[in-house]
């Protein structure tokens, strides 16, 4: 019980504060038996570390307390002299605690024990929960319960806003003294902030300890720091009118335009539902069988019956509760079913329909048989059901069968069950996403919500810098940097009560305000999403999820088309190879198609050679079926019988998901013999590849697959004529293959609309370097570079950016003044660089020569050694550049370097050697001044140790100590109490200190 917890906390506080001296700063980690002790151990080292980094001194003590009542709150940390107790402190929080609370005396409200947040978890029994479920989901009752709360919000505006303001800044306005905390209580600031003083805790505990049923009266107070924008238990947005009344934009910490985007999202979701409803009723019309519709509704009843009363009420909720959608759903039925019924001469009996509709089909393929089977297939994890449903129909029926399957799957998940999706991409996993997922799993099980909310892992969504990400569907609210401890609160507040927790929302770095919806976050807003559109809906391991978003419909459509029609569509789409060379995809396909050979191959190039290209592995891991579908369509178009999906062994998750996808596709009859009952046979092997840069080159890739060392082959013959084992082979990049389904489904013209004049569609780019949102994003071709870097990427983390390197490590540099260049093949080439998926942002203090040299070193290590010009030339170029950066060069070296680069470019067989010299030439062309300066012994970039000194301007230095924290070699000392100084003999000229100094006190010359 939380009252017990509060008393236990108070007692612990009292006992500890009485022993420990109150005046000097101290961090006390409370330990007791079990997990707390283990946590205390980790925390202890983390605190020591952080203190050292922040150059602060404070006592760190581990005290044993009686923690029998505090389970679930460990680790508990108390701070002096602030006299504040933090619970559930993670290692990540330590820095913040040290910096905010210890240094500045500010309370971090999210770490303070909040009796309100955890109250229902302790209090509600299962019966009560059931009662709650029944009460809240019984039709309009939910709306009425919530309305007064929502209405009351504007009425309280002054106080309301005030309290929000103070909350927004992580409690920064809250004074720590007990005296100041008391008015705060009157001003409805319950919970967290108050626990600064023990007596107040007791007072607080009395207020919210009323039973959950009467919680309505207390609700407005409880939710002050929360935004009640969702319908409880559905994760759906309230009606726009209610949202309007919330006056979100008056709340100082919420981004302007939020109400607008909420409304837009609401309407979008409504349209989505209506479309789905149309699909469901539409399939009925195609097979005019009233029983079909009944199957769906029967499904609901079955769903209701088979579950406990609590679940039943939730299950039926979308049918009765969302009154806006359902009239439409039902309205669609008679309209669309009407003409179809006429067409089928109003046939209602099942036996009559096949005779009318499908004269050619045999009895087994009759739709009458399909209907029960598709209902059986509704469990999207049931592969045999899916396979059965697909096998039953003949080729001409495949579209309809897939549509129907889709509608069944859709009605299973999107209309009914709210979802919490945790991003389990590699980036998020590295930051603890799996722990978050497990915490959700545990909490959902704990509350017995397994049926009412679906928990799902999805692939990487690009915003890795903000991970772990948690998305709430269907409202599309994105929580960032979620910790396992937040799972409880998200379930309690957001799912059960419909309140959004602002502290977990994305904060716009420009305005400092919070953004509610995923689509309103600039990172996503500025993207054009075709390939990544459905990532938040798809569990990569589930083929059902992919089918539910319309997956494999393009394949079914393609199988009914002649192959030249498919290639025509691709020509119309102006799709070009996304690997970088930009060769028109259709031409390649056409050449391969026209080859006469019994055996042809198609290959997915998933080598993603360029360092930093996160996009290809991420897409393979997030939506493997999309690539597979594209591959099957391609194989059909060129009549290939075997496909290879080449994945580097280093991309473990991509490999795992691709293998699973291929396996599932075989089980569902989407691969193998007679795909979707056509005469087309196709087999796919997921090929494990070694980690090698050169294998990204088309012909080297073929050698690698054949089991040789991966050297390039001379071209011509091109692989499309003679590739794997001498047979015609179609090699395309991951992104190219992934674009195919959308083109076939919507038509080439549709796809071409999105791109630039010469190349259609979208591509994925990886953003690396010191930008605010590193990760990968989908942009349409022809997006200005500045939009990608400053808009999507969020601009530089510190200071300014000098240039952006496109086309991987061997690409050219685009200086900031040229960032209006459009991201497209031709324009980038004109700007003297390459099209490629990696955009590396270089900070202001980057020495272009130094970086070019590093790129060359990397290329040298990866070169295959076949061409002597590349094998010998690159090390020689590196040597010349070493002379330059070490201040040993003369003008002749530059001439030699240029000559050498030209030779290597002209005499290397593959792109690797050519690009290596290109990067040298490009840097000489774009930054001739830097080379000149180096000849004079100056390095404008500030990386060359012999030419540059980093210094501290004593006039400006405020001794904040940030530079000392980042210096990797501890070369920064305290000149006196007010100033810092840099010791040149230790400094390695990395420039980190320059980048973090807010006072611009560090300079180099």
């Amino acid at each position: 019980m939380d009252a017990d917890i509060l008393t236990a906390l108070q007692e612990a506080e009292k006992s500890i504060f009485s022993i420990v001296e109150n005046d000097s700063p101290a961090i006390i980690i409370c330990a007791w038996q079990g997990k707390a002790a283990a946590d205390a151990l980790t925390l202890y080292s983390a605190v020591q570390q952080s203190l050292k980094q922040n150059k602060l001194s404070a006592r760190v003590e581990v005290m044993q307390i009686d923690g029998s009542n505090l389970t679930g709150l460990e680790p508990v940390v108390m701070l002096l002299p602030a006299k504040v107790t933090y619970v559930n402190v993670g290692e990540k929080d330590v820095d913040e605690i040290v910096q905010k609370t210890l240094r500045k005396g500010k309370v971090i409200s999210r770490l303070v024990f909040d009796p309100n947040a955890s109250q229902p978890s302790r209090r509600i029994t299962l019966e009560e929960l059931q009662a709650l479920a029944l009460g809240q989901t019984a039709g309009t009752a939910a709306g009425e319960q919530i309305t007064p709360e929502v209405d009351s919000a504007p009425g309280q505006d002054p106080e309301f806003n005030q309290s929000i303001t103070s909350d927004s800044a992580d409690g920064e306005h809250v004074s720590l003294s007990p005296d100041a905390a008391e008015p705060a209580v009157d001003g409805r600031l319950p919970g967290g902030e108050v626990s600064g003083s023990a007596p107040d805790l007791g007072a607080e505990a009395a207020v919210p300890s009323t039973p959950a049923e009467t919680g309505d009266a207390v609700l407005p107070e409880e939710t002050e720091e929360l935004l009640p924008v969702l319908i409880p238990r559905t994760l759906k947005l309230f009606h726009p009118k209610k949202i309007e009344r919330l006056k979100l934009e008056d709340r100082s910490n919420i981004e302007k335009g939020t109400a607008e985007s909420l409304k837009a999202e609401y309407t979008a979701h409504e349209t989505f539902l209506a479309e789905r409803a149309a699909v469901i009723s539409g399939t009925n019309a195609a097979n005019p069988d009233e029983a079909e519709f009944l199957t769906v509704s029967e499904l609901f009843t079955k769903f209701d019956d088979s579950n406990s009363p609590q679940n039943a009420s939730v299950g039926s909720e979308p049918v009765t509760g969302s009154s806006e959608t359902n009239p439409e759903t039902e309205g669609h039925l008679p309209q669309s079913a009407g003409p179809a019924e006429e067409a089928a001469s109003a046939g209602t009996a099942e036996e009559e329909i096949p005779a009318d509709e499908q004269p050619g089909t045999t009895k087994e393929n009759a739709p009458g048989r399909i209907i029960p089977d598709t209902t059986a297939a509704v469990n999207k994890k049931d592969l045999s059901g899916i396979a059965q449903a697909l096998e039953m129909a003949t080729l001409s029926d495949q579209m309809a069968a897939l549509e129907k399957l889709k509608s069944e799957l859709v009605s299973e998940f999107s209309g009914v069950t709210p979802q919490i999706t945790v991003c389990a991409g590699d980036g998020c996993c590295a930051q603890g996403a799996l722990a978050v997922f497990e915490a959700f799993q545990e909490r959902i099980e704990h509350f017995g919500l397994g049926v009412t909310v679906e928990l799902k892992k999805t692939g990487c969504r690009g915003l890795c810098g903000q991970g772990p990400l948690v998305m709430l569907m269907p409202a599309t609210i994105l929580y960032v940097q979620v910790k396992p401890a937040d799972a409880e609160k998200i379930i309690q507040e957001t799912f059960l009560k419909g309140n959004v927790i602002p502290s977990l929302l994305y904060q716009n770095p420009q305005s400092g305000k919070k953004i509610l919806l995923e689509s309103a976050i600039p990172f996503y807003k500025l993207q054009t999403r075709i390939l990544t559109k459905d990532l938040s809906r798809i569990d990569p391991e589930s083929i059902g999820d992919y089918l539910a978003v319309g997956g494999y419909e393009a394949l079914a459509k393609a199988l009914t088309l002649p192959s030249d029609e498919i290639i025509k569509q691709i020509e119309n789409s102006r799709l070009r190879g996304r690997g970088g060379a930009g060769f028109p995809t259709w031409k390649k396909w056409d050449v391969c198609r026209k080859e006469h050979s019994g055996l042809k191959y198609v290959v997915v190039n998933g080598n993603a050679a360029d360092p930093g290209s996160m996009d290809d592995p991420a897409l393979m891991a997030a939506n493997p079926h999309l690539i597979l579908e594209g591959l099957i369509i391609g194989a059909y178009a060129v009549q290939a019988t075997r496909g290879f999906i080449y994945v580097r062994t280093q991309f473990k998750s991509a490999l795992k998901q691709m293998e699973k996808a291929v396996e599932d596709a075989y089980h569902s009859g989407l691969l193998g013999k007679k795909i979707l009952n056509s005469n087309f046979n196709f087999d796919v092997i997921v090929h494990l590849g070694a980690n090698s840069y050169i294998s990204g080159e088309e012909t080297s890739l073929l050698n690698a697959i054949e089991g040789n060392w991966s050297e390039p082959r001379p071209r011509p013959p091109y692989p499309a004529k003679s590739g794997l084992w001498g047979k015609p082979t179609l090699v395309n990049n991951v992104k190219t293959w992934a674009s195919i389904p959308a083109i076939i489904r919507n038509g080439g013209e549709w796809y071409a609309q999105t791109g630039s004049k010469k190349s259609g569609g979208t591509t994925l780019v990886s953003l690396t370097g010191p930008v605010k949102n590193p990760g990968y994003a989908e942009v349409r071709l022809g997006t200005p570079l500045s939009t990608i870097i400053n808009g999507i990427g969020g601009g530089a983390v510190h200071g300014k950016l000098k240039a952006v390197q496109t086309g991987g490590i061997t690409g050219g540099f685009v200086p900031e003044e040229n960032w209006d260049v459009l991201y497209d093949y031709e324009t980038l080439q004109k700007a003297g660089t390459d099209f490629g998926s990696v955009l590396h942002a270089c900070p202001e203090n980057t020495c272009i020569i130094f970086r070019t040299m590093h790129a060359l070193e990397e290329i040298r290590d990866e070169a295959c050694g076949r061409c002597s010009s590349c094998r010998i030339g690159i090390p020689q170029m590196i040597k010349l550049m070493e002379y330059i950066v070490n201040n040993n060069s003369e003008r002749q070296d530059l001439i030699t370097l240029k000559d050498l680069a030209n030779t290597v470019r002209d005499s290397s067989m593959c792109k690797l050697g050519q690009n290596a010299s290109m990067v040298v030439l490009a840097s000489m062309n774009d930054y001739p001044k830097e080379y000149e300066a180096h000849l004079r012994g100056k390095c404008p970039g500030g990386n060359c140790p012999d030419m540059v000194q980093y210094r501290v301007d004593p006039e400006r230095c405020t001794a904040c100590g940030k530079c000392q924290v980042v210096c990797p070699v501890t070369a920064i000392f305290e000149a006196d109490e007010e100033k810092r100084m840099i010791e040149s003999s230790i400094c390695i000229r990395c420039g980190y200190c320059y980048n973090v100094c807010d006072d611009n006190a560090i300079y180099y010359q």
Binding site: S45, A608, Q650, L688, A690, G707, W709, E862, C864
Partner: protein
């Protein structure tokens, strides 16, 4: 080194029959044992009828493979351009100094192997250090050193 060749046979059975199955077989053996042993090499050579010398040539071409066994704990420090310029280089140097082994080497008590690896595509959360498949994001030399000193010679 006692090498259980049953596993090698299993791998050859499941991957070797595919066209172009040679490199996947070798990669799987590398993944399982941490290196390509002489025994495994001759087994592959026999079963897939590839001359041993050719196998060695292929293996030495790709830097994914190694001929020497690795320690229980493998520390991989990403040297991709983002991680290395973000401090990864220094981290590697510090670990190297701390464990008193050079990159690519195994410590004398066979508890750690230090490897420098190319870009792991985790640039967004870098610099990364991967210890036995567990990724440590935003790592610094100090953090990893602390981690290693706490778990020195015990299982990570």
């Amino acid at each position: 080194m006692n090498v259980n060749l049953n596993n090698v046979d299993d791998i050859i059975r499941s991957y070797g029959k595919n066209p172009g199955g040679l490199i996947p077989v070798l990669l799987k053996i590398e993944e399982l044992y941490g290196y390509i042993s002489e025994e495994a090499l001759s087994e592959v050579s026999d079963k897939l009828s590839v001359p041993p010398l050719r196998l060695k040539k292929i293996i030495s071409f790709y830097n994914t493979f190694s001929f020497t066994p690795k320690a229980r704990n493998v520390i991989r420090v990403c040297q991709g351009c983002n991680c290395s310029s973000g401090g990864g280089q220094l981290t590697a140097a510090k670990i190297s100094e701390f464990l008193n082994i050079k990159p690519g080497e195994t410590s004398p008590d066979e508890s750690f192997t230090l490897e420098l690896v190319p870009c792991q595509r985790l640039c967004a959360v870098g610099p990364v250090v991967i210890i036995n498949d567990k990724v440590y994001s935003h790592s610094t030399a100090d953090k990893i050193q602390q981690l290693l000193s706490e778990y020195d010679s015990s299982e990570l």
